[in-house]
């Protein structure tokens, strides 16, 4: 598994962001860090549509994943 490995020099891959709904406790940090991509429902849980993440949001997405208090944000494709 190469999660967290440096990506410099690698061919761009399809990146997706999803939430582990069991771990998520609706802290909402992800939507603060990545408002361009994540909105919250009326109960505070993130809504993610599973679309491919644009390359320019990748750094923000990594930060959102790291900032989640329950580590519920999962980046896939790395």
């Amino acid at each position: 598994m190469a999660a967290g490995a440096p990506t410099a020099g690698r061919v761009a891959m399809t990146m997706r962001i999803r939430v582990n709904p069991i771990a998520c406790e609706a802290h909402g940090v992800c939507a603060e860090v990545l408002p361009e991509w994540i909105e919250l429902d009326e109960w505070g849980y993130p809504i993610l549509d599973g679309e491919e993440l644009p390359a320019q949001l990748l750094a923000h997405a990594r930060r959102a994943a790291k900032a989640c208090p329950t580590l519920a944000i999962v980046l896939s494709g790395e």
């Binding site: 582990n20 709904p21 429902d41 849980y45």
Partner: protein, 424 residues
């Protein structure tokens, strides 16, 4: 569409059904004979060639699943037979385990042989009458079986028999779904590749290993062959189990069950994750995954619930949504919050406590809740609710405008048992 005259419906799974006083093993051996001496690869080949699709709901090709688990095994795989029938309106697995358990137990042995497993588990509901039957059946077989089957009692909750929940339970946890991947076929019981099959699927394996793939294909739909156990409920019948060729229309099944079609407006197909369909449309619909998908429905575990003319579809949906809300695992926010909200809106619609400002909220919840749980529980509940809104559109307009419902005093019809206390 396959038209099958009802008098030609063969009995396969239900060919050797014993009563309480019978020696079920003797009844079984009389019809099926001893466990056949077929090699593991030959079993996989026969099941693949038969075209058997899993009978637990998803309809995945059973042979391909066996091959996947067998191939992925750098560790010894495990077989799990799922007989913890979560659908309150389904009775097929209980009938099979209660009256013909040995065909299922044969299927378990053949599945272990097919994938090279040395461990097998059979899950049934805690305190169910079939617990004693399967334990007695296993004792009756004595040491004839190559792999010992351990019986597990699962809490009778709707989501507890979901594949990942079952595996979690067998690993010592609560019977709640887990976040996947890995899927059980990759890493399941004891972190070993695990073949989870519904007990009806395994019973078919027991038959196919003896009679062959070509025999299996002699009846039913060409692409989804064989027979299928369905559970029919209507005004006249409750959970009547019938073995029907795949491709049989819902109308033919209703006729065979003695249901009078006149005056019936809607049919719930597939179970509580299923779809309401207008009756006139449902009668023509063949029982195949393909046809159900094209109708925006799902075959599920073969539940056919024919709404009695005296019952209100809105009220029945409200009760089932209330059931699904109380049976959620309490793990995922969108389901934990969304299902009670949707169920409450339906309860208000049904009971006359409606306020129009609920409508946009209901529409929003139905749009935002599905696809956001660890399992398909929220998706199923939303499908039920959404199809109710379209099929009962006229009734819903009446309920919204406060006109009294024709069935407001009708007794509750679909079963909605309360969840037991625990998850172990």
């Amino acid at each position: 569409m396959t038209a099958v005259a009802s008098d030609t419906w063969p009995r396969r799974l239900l060919a050797a059904v014993g009563s309480d006083d019978d020696d079920l093993y003797a009844v079984h051996l009389d019809t099926w004979g001893a466990l056949p001496d077929v090699s593991g690869p030959a079993i996989v080949e026969a099941v693949e060639g038969s075209g058997l699709l899993g009978r637990g709901g998803a309809g995945f090709p059973a042979g391909r699943k066996m091959r996947t688990v067998a191939a992925g095994a750098n560790r010894r795989p495990v077989v799990v037979a799922n007989g913890a029938e979560g659908e309150p309106a389904s009775g097929k697995d209980a009938l099979l385990l209660g009256r013909a358990p040995h065909l299922v137990l044969d299927g378990i042995q053949l599945a272990t042989r097919a994938i090279g497993a040395d461990e097998a588990h059979l899950a049934v509901h805690l305190g169910s009458p079939v617990v004693g039957v399967v334990r007695a059946a296993l004792a009756r077989r004595g040491t004839a079986d190559a792999v010992r089957v351990r019986v597990h009692e699962i809490p009778s909750r709707y989501v507890a028999s979901e594949e990942s929940a079952l595996v979690h339970f067998l690993n010592g946890g609560e019977a709640k779904p887990t976040f996947t991947p890995p899927r059980p076929f990759e890493q399941g019981v004891g972190r070993r590749p695990t073949l989870v099959n519904n007990v009806e699927t395994l019973a078919h394996v027991g038959a196919i290993a003896r009679r062959g793939a070509a025999w299996f294909r002699e009846v039913g739909d060409a692409d989804e062959p064989g027979t299928l156990l369905v559970s029919v409920s209507a005004q006249e019948v409750t959970r009547r189990v019938a073995e029907v060729p795949t491709g049989t229309t819902i109308g033919a099944v209703a006729d065979r069950a003695g249901v009078i079609r006149a005056g019936i407006g809607a049919v719930l197909v597939g179970g509580y994750f299923g779809s309401w369909l207008p009756a006139a449309y449902a009668w023509q619909l063949p029982l195949t995954h393909r046809a159900m998908r094209s109708a925006g429905a799902a075959l599920g575990a073969g539940v056919i619930a024919i709404l009695p003319p005296s019952s209100c579809g809105v009220a029945e949906t409200a009760r089932v949504l209330g059931y699904l809300a109380t049976h959620n695992a309490g793990q995922c926010g969108p389901c934990l919050n969304g299902l009670p909200a949707i169920a409450d809106a339906f309860r208000r619609l049904a009971s006359g406590a409606w306020d129009e400002r609920w409508w946009p909220a209901l529409e929003r919840w139905l749009a935002v809740v599905p696809g956001r749980g660890a399992c398909r529980h929220p998706d199923g509940a939303v499908r039920l609710a959404s199809t109710a809104l379209s099929v009962f559109a006229e009734d819903i307009a009446s309920h919204r405008s406060g006109r009294p419902c024709h069935a407001s005093s009708a007794p509750a019809w679909l079963p909605a048992p309360r969840p037991p206390g625990g998850w172990r």
